[in-house]
């Protein structure tokens, strides 16, 4: 019956520690989310007023004031391409840990957020690749020098698989819940 699919399972007391840690993680991700959102909102301002400061893009400290106008534009694009998917990823991460903190485990909404977080990690990896030509155009990277970081891809794929496993576990749990 569908009501068992949406009902939160009864959690053991040993999950309390995980709930507490999840609360901390949710808070951390929320702070990071709003921080990234503020940076994303301030990015156009850095393009208009380059003296505003510097920003870290793919491990490279970018001081807008030191760049020429076209370089500033490419640096702005590289930063936007980096921060936009990270913002979505952080949103899903804070929702996942927020749900865990409330004890909402193995629920369809939580599983959907876990899957989305994995998908956006993969998106971050591929969008990260596109930032290199922009960084080169901005004069922040030497051509041909592309330091690849495969961890977002590996963790993203693992997270997506874990979400599918959780969905299957939720389906099995719902099936068992209908046996008295």
């Amino acid at each position: 019956m569908s009501q068992t699919l949406t009902a939160a399972p009864v959690l053991s007391s040993s999950f309390d520690r995980a709930r507490k840690l999840s609360r901390v993680m949710a808070l951390l991700f929320t702070v990071c989310f709003w921080g990234a959102a503020a940076i994303l909102v301030c990015l156009p301002a850095m393009l208009i007023w380059p003296l505003a400061g510097s920003i870290n893009v793919n491990g490279v400290e970018v001081a807008f004031a030191d760049l020429s106008r076209p370089q500033q534009f490419f640096a702005f694009l590289a930063a936007a391409v980096n921060f936009a998917p990270a913002l979505v990823l952080l949103h899903h991460a804070r929702r996942v840990f927020g749900a865990f903190a409330k004890g909402e485990v193995f629920l369809p909404a939580t599983i959907a957020h876990i899957r989305s977080a994995g998908v956006w990690l993969i998106v971050c990896f591929f969008l990260g690749l596109t930032t290199f030509p922009l960084m080169v155009a901005a004069g922040l990277h030497a051509p041909g020098q592309i330091p690849l970081d495969f961890w977002p891809l590996v963790i993203g794929v693992t997270t997506v698989i874990a979400a599918h496993v959780m969905r299957e576990a939720a389906r099995i749990a719902a099936d068992h819940a209908e046996i008295v």
Binding site: M1, D175, E178, I179, V180
Partner: protein
């Protein structure tokens, strides 16, 4: 289809659902679902407890009816 005749047996034994639920250790809500055949299955353990409390056979509780 399988029909659960638990309410008939409860009436015969003059026992209320609440008491049966307490004695076999399941919730009244689940017992209600069982009575209305709205469950996917019954554990042998649950069936054993019901038969023990109501002093009946599984055949007294479950009946097959062609749809």
């Amino acid at each position: 289809m399988i029909v659960v005749n638990l309410d008939v047996m409860l009436a015969k034994r003059k026992m209320r659902s609440k008491e049966l639920a307490e004695r076999i250790g399941i919730t009244e809500a689940n017992l209600s679902l069982l009575k209305s055949s709205k469950v996917k299955g019954v554990r042998f353990e649950t069936l054993d407890k019901i038969c023990s409390v109501l002093e009946c056979q599984p055949g007294d509780l479950l009946e097959y009816r062609a749809e």
